[in-house]
């Protein structure tokens, strides 16, 4: 049955930008219905992984599977119909549209045929799609921003609107790129509750990139750790935390070992040290 099959599978995926290898031979799987965190130091290639899943960039080698489908060569526009929706590291809402209209954009993949496009969703208040979008905003506690132009809204609110927009596509796999970055503690708490609630039904698998380890540790059941485009560990948050390689990447090599090697610091360690602060 499908229960055993992972929702997302990377098989020896590589991506280069010119001479720079960003993703190297990456293989990992995301369990259906799980809340999985993709972590790693700055520049590890986490956002690139998201861009490969959503088709922003083509892969140079390897395959990407969503459920049973090979989506490696599916054009970016069609992937949302396969059930992949995402948020962006730097909020990317349509700044000239209102909050509600931005959320309506999220439904496009489900209502984008000629008939859907010509439906007067802005003209009748009782339109089913409009009602659905309003309900989505209300669920996230954003009802009062419905008619505001998004450009002027606080950052934390914009991030939540982006989440609602992604949910409107009814994704099977929801990709969140640093959802907690820039949020205050109260907002982070609210986000945690909202995400748990979203995943409760088990229909949505969550894959997120996040630097806030406390947030990730509390929310995610599984972690995948990458560094310089390679997977260095995966497992439960506890197991990953005890992994020596992960500690090395995040905290730097033990001082003794560093002296012994006495080589010029590898950029890997430099990245790890700066992360530890």
């Amino acid at each position: 049955m499908t229960a055993g099959r992972p929702i997302l599978r990377f098989e020896t995926v590589s991506k280069h930008f010119g001479g720079l290898s960003v993703i190297e031979d990456l293989t990992f799987a995301v369990r259906r219905g799980s809340r999985t965190g993709l972590i790693g130091p700055n520049g590890a290639g986490k956002t690139t992984v998201f861009n490969l899943i959503t088709g922003v960039y083509p892969v140079d080698a390897g395959r990407i599977y969503l459920d049973a489908d090979d989506i490696t060569n599916v054009p970016s526009r069609r992937r949302i119909r396969n059930g992949v929706a995402r948020s962006f590291q730097n909020v990317r809402l349509m700044r000239h549209l209102s909050t509600l209209e931005n959320v309506l954009v999220g439904q496009h993949s489900r209502n984008g045929g000629l008939f859907g496009v010509l439906q007067p969703i802005s003209l009748s208040a009782r339109n089913r799609w409009r009602e659905e979008a309003r309900a989505g905003l209300a669920d996230a506690g954003l009802a009062k921003y419905e008619r505001a132009t998004v450009g002027g809204l606080p950052y934390g609110v914009q991030k939540r609107i982006e989440l609602v927009r992604a949910l409107m596509a009814h994704p099977r796999l929801l990709l969140l790129d640093e959802p907690a970055a820039g949020l205050n503690p109260a907002e982070t708490e609210a986000l945690h509750t909202h995400l748990v609630q979203i995943c409760r039904s088990g229909d949505i698998t969550l894959l997120m990139v996040e630097h806030d380890m406390q947030f990730v540790g509390a929310l995610c059941e599984e972690l995948v750790v990458i560094s310089f485009g390679r997977k260095i560990a995966e497992g439960t948050p506890q197991a990953v935390r005890q992994n020596l390689l992960v500690q090395e990447v995040y905290l730097g090599k033990p001082a003794v070992e560093q002296e012994r090697e006495a080589v010029a610091e590898s950029p890997l360690v430099a990245a790890g040290v700066s992360r530890a602060s």
């Binding site: 526009r77 007067p120 969703i121 003209l123």
Partner: protein, 290 residues
């Protein structure tokens, strides 16, 4: 109604149609400087069928719009590959080509111009104007309007949301060109005489300016811009020699003060009391120290 007032209203009605022709591509983020060319195609083809085949203006003008739309669809494929300033240049070049072609077509009168037999008046023209405005307003009340703005704001994200960016760009370009074709047809049938020189890049630029200054974010913006551009020079008629200087200076001030146009979407929402309850504190106007 005095002949003068009627003349102004006719000019206004035609300019409003023109403005909506410019609005569609602008709303999708395209600077189309070839609008005059599509107006010329609409004007000449509607004039030709009404002269030669005695087709009434009521059918000839839509035919002109259709012809403009077809030509737009054909050129959209290569032209819309370009972006930004290059798109403006490509459409500018397109305008030159169409103008030069008409100048060399003997059966359309060439440089001598082309007379049009049937004559239409204000009620006829204003009915077309109302229909065009209603059509665009309806179109922008659908998901189409939202998707076009989304394409304008962020092509990449629009694509990832499942929006066929290219299809919306082409549609905006083609429908806008067809509307410009209607404006051309109305112009031809009212003034009874058309010449290729009239459909120059200056016309395109004026129309685009109408819309940019009126505002490209709402369906009301083009109406406002066209009205301002048509009526203000008339109101300034008092000083015959200086009125365009005053007008141009006013435009520069407007551009400096309202770079996004006279009417923005945000403003419209506020105007109708759709402002969010402003409880963020940081965005509240600061009171004096207490």
């Amino acid at each position: 109604m005095s002949g003068y007032a009627e003349g102004i209203l006719i000019l206004l009605a035609i300019n409003v149609v023109f403005a909506y022709g410019a609005f569609l591509p602008l709303a999708a983020g395209q600077l189309n400087l070839g609008l005059a060319a599509f107006a010329a195609i609409g004007a000449y083809s509607s004039a030709y069928v009404s002269n030669v085949y005695a087709i009434p203006a009521l059918a000839a003008i839509p035919f002109g719009a259709f012809a403009a739309g077809i030509i737009a669809l054909i050129v959209a494929v290569p032209v819309l590959r370009t972006r930004g300033i290059y798109l403006a240049l490509a459409t500018f070049a397109l305008g030159q080509i169409v103008q030069a072609t008409i100048l060399n077509l003997g059966f359309l009168g060439g440089a001598a111009g082309y007379p049009v037999n049937e004559f239409i008046r204000l009620p006829f023209i204003s009915a077309f104007t109302v229909a065009v405005v209603a059509l665009v307003a309806l179109l922008f009340g659908t998901r189409f309007g939202i998707a076009v703005t989304a394409v304008h704001d962020d092509e990449r994200v629009a694509d990832l949301m499942g929006i066929d960016v290219r299809a919306f760009q082409v549609t905006a370009f083609v429908v806008g060109s067809a509307i410009a074709g209607i404006a051309g047809g109305l112009y031809a049938h009212h003034f009874s005489y058309i010449e290729a020189q009239y459909f120059s890049v200056t016309l395109s630029i004026t129309i685009v300016l109408n819309v940019l200054l009126g505002g490209t974010q709402t369906v009301i913006g083009p109406l406002l811009g066209a009205a301002m551009f048509t009526l203000l020079p008339e109101l300034l008629r008092g000083s015959a020699h200086w009125r365009y200087v005053v007008f141009a200076a006013g435009l520069i001030v407007l551009m400096a003060l309202r770079p996004e146009g006279l009417l923005t979407g945000d403003q419209l929402r506020q105007l109708f009391g759709w402002r969010r309850t402003d409880d963020e504190g940081s965005r509240m106007p600061r009171e004096g120290p207490t």
